[in-house]
Amino acid sequence: MTSPRTGPGATPGHSGKRGDRVAVATSTKANVQANGEAAKAVRPRNEKVAYLFLSPWIFGLVVFSLGPILVSLYLSFTNYNLLQPPKWIGLENYVHMFTQSQLFATSLVDTLEYILISVPIKMVVALAIALLLSLEVKGIGVYRTVYYVPSLIGTSVAVAYLWQQMFGPDGLINKGLALVGIHGPNWLAEPRTALFTLAMLQAWQFGSAMMIFVAGLKQIPESLYEAAIVDGAGRLYRFFRITIPMLSPVIFFNLIMSIINGFTQFTQGYIVTDGGPLNATLFFALYLYEEAFNFQNMGYASALAWFLLVLVGVLTFLVFRFGSRYVYYES
């Protein structure tokens, strides 16, 4: 996760850099020899050096990301089982996806349900804890680290196993509930609760969203609150009229990242429930994985991947289109 500055709030930084590059380009030739003079003089060489330093990354992007992405576009129009060379079948994979496959719809519904449950919970928890952690208390750094830890380990296989144990029929959660006289459900074996359990695991990883909120909260000028207090505004009023609007670009950014993250969810469904019971936790990425690697339908799986890419793109666009009217940009 990058710093909050890469969010929509970072506009000034971007345009500034662009301006610099124009200046650099026009002054390139004149300043080649001028070594120790002004800072301006060193820049053109730096630009080449910058590309030099960037080259491993650019190489990696082209070879390991862009290349495979384009190959998968090609494969999505083929029948490819890894053993035989791919065979061109046109749009057949896409036709199958939309008209014949039941699991396609199931996995899509599961994923959307999962996002609808986990994202709001995660956002609220992240913001609430961020508010607490933006208080000036001794040892606040320690608290922030502690609350960030789930985000670091949350996607790991070990935590998925731990989750499975905790929510097992005789797991920690049901033992705890039994203490207060509640007979807990068989969390991972009931279609309803299984998805909810995984959504909780996702919501539990609120750390990075929380850190971004903390940074966002720091950016809100203290003077606004002071003025509001002078005017007699209460805590709630200040929260909804100052904090939320001023924080809206950051909320927006977190929302989009959480949605994208939700769509690419894989490990939890794979390890904790293996898509079950009754395919209730068959996430889209898990369905894609099974088609690709269990059933060796690489062509069809590539088509699924491209569908996901387009779907996430469209959803992100819609969120921008309709969400942004609620976002307040200072500039």
Binding site: G7, A285, N294
Partner: protein, 440 residues
């Protein structure tokens, strides 16, 4: 305003890229498990062979011990092991490696896959291989490694279906390991359940045990050419109803318990903590079960169908195959021969994969003394050999997908979402569609 729009587009683009990376990264996430056997590195090996295999923790340990024995006997050959974890993960990795042209020199193969791999030219034809002594292996066992006249894998062990059960609990119900009919077995299970209050057996419904059921009706999972399912709908319905009745009686666990089982003899298997008392599975599992459990286990041939043909068959547990693109076929043959025929390798491997195919190794193991579950496995295989009928040909390519569809259907019936009739009808239609469209 313009500035704002620019930011939108930039962020949207970033979002797209992120989403793309997320998906693209899924495939590569299984890290490579390299060099467990690097202990020999200082002896300056002349040749390094890679060796891929799957299994549980016990199988991993015994295989590594056999590899060590080989390296001791042939100090100029170093074996780089690639333990692939459980079956599915192993084949996930192997199919990717094969597509990339860098599969291991020696690989463990399975009956369901060997045909596809051999036909695509990925496996070395071992017919007439000088380095491998085949005279110790019975021709009827070896037969399963032949595809279109070439020998593409040597079976490493044989396995058959068995009923593994808690000896004391079943003795109370008057059962002592004799072979009974399905009807008698259901009565025994209900009796055991009433006496103990526990589940008498796991709900062992799956595609392979159904295959056994179908064979007892003179039918098969697939027709001879592998283009259609080979059984009647009524056969499947009777199978589903048999288990539904046992569930209703409480003799086998409900779907909510069965759906959480990851693998036989795994801690998620209710048999291991003693919540259920029997399981129908491959006989080699008794070694794993007994190493996890203290209660003495018994073993019997699985139930028969009165008046029906014999459904029991012996299956090659796995094969040792050699990659067709290996640089060192001679050394690879040497290693395969060692795993099959060498007594110290045989002792290291034990019976974890089933009864070894080599008569030399079998004799040596029996002479050296067997543990109780190993002895049981031997005895059961002897019994099975007397009655077993030939195995079905390797399944057609969409088998894996059909297998999973079957599991989904069974689960829906277990959860009461579908009746046996509905489930069977829908499943058979989907499976036949898959078979006709060649796996897509």
């Amino acid at each position: 305003m313009r500035k704002k729009r620019w930011t939108w587009t930039a962020s949207a683009a970033a979002a797209l890229v992120l989403a793309g990376c997320g998906t693209a990264a899924q495939g590569g996430s299984s890290g490579s498990q390299a060099g467990q056997a690097a202990g020999n590195a200082d002896s300056k090996p002349v040749v390094t062979l890679t060796f891929g295999f799957w299994g549980d923790a016990k199988e991993e340990a015994v295989t590594l011990a056999a590899v060590k024995a080989f390296e001791k006997a042939y100090p100029n050959i170093h074996i780089q092991t690639e333990f692939g974890g459980p079956f599915n993960q192993y084949f996930t990795k192997l199919s990717t490696e094969v597509a990339g042209g860098n599969a291991p020199d020696i690989m463990q193969m399975d009956y369901d896959y060997i045909e596809a791999y051999a036909k695509e030219g990925q496996l070395l034809n071992l017919k007439g291989a000088k380095g491998i002594n085949l005279s110790t292996i019975s021709p009827s066992v070896l037969k399963s490694g032949y595809i279109d006249g070439g020998l593409y894998g040597i079976p490493n062990a044989i396995d058959c279906y068995s009923m593994i059960y808690d000896q004391n609990a079943f003795a109370k119900a008057g059962y002592h390991g004799q072979r009974v009919s399905w009807g008698q077995w259901a009565a025994i299970l209900e009796k055991v359940h009433k006496l103990t209050g526990k589940w008498a057996e796991d709900d062992d419904e799956n595609w392979q045990t159904f295959g056994y059921w179908a064979r007892q009706q003179g039918q098969h999972l697939y027709n001879a050419s592998g283009t259609k399912l080979g059984f009647a709908q009524s056969t499947l319905v009777s199978y589903l109803n048999y288990w539904a009745n046992l569930r209703r009686e409480g003799a086998v666990p409900p779907g909510t318990v069965t759906s959480l089982i990851k693998q036989a003899a795994d801690p998620t298997d209710p048999m291991v903590p003693g919540k259920s008392l029997a399981e129908m599975t491959w006989d080699a599992y008794i070694v794993s079960f007994q190493s996890e459990m203290t209660k003495p286990l018994g073993m019997a041939l699985p139930p028969y169908q009165p008046g029906g043909p014999e459904g029991l068959y012996l299956k090659p547990s796995q094969f040792w195959s050699i990659y067709s693109k290996t640089k060192y076929p001679q050394q690879a043959e040497l290693f395969v021969n060692f795993l099959l025929n060498n007594v110290s390798a045989g002792k290291a491997l034990g019976l974890d994969r089933g009864i070894p195919v080599s008569s030399t190794v079998r004799a040596a193991l029996q002479k050296a003394g067997l543990s109780r579950p190993e002895q049981q496995e031997f005895t059961l295989t002897d019994q099975a050999l007397k009655v077993a009928t030939p195995i079905d040909p390797p399944p057609p390519q969409p088998n894996k997908e059909i297998d999973q569809d079957f599991g989904n259907m069974v689960q829906a019936v277990q959860y009461g979402k579908e009746t046996a009739q509905q489930g069977a009808e829908q499943f058979m239609q989907e499976a036949n569609d898959l078979l006709q469209n060649g796996g897509e």
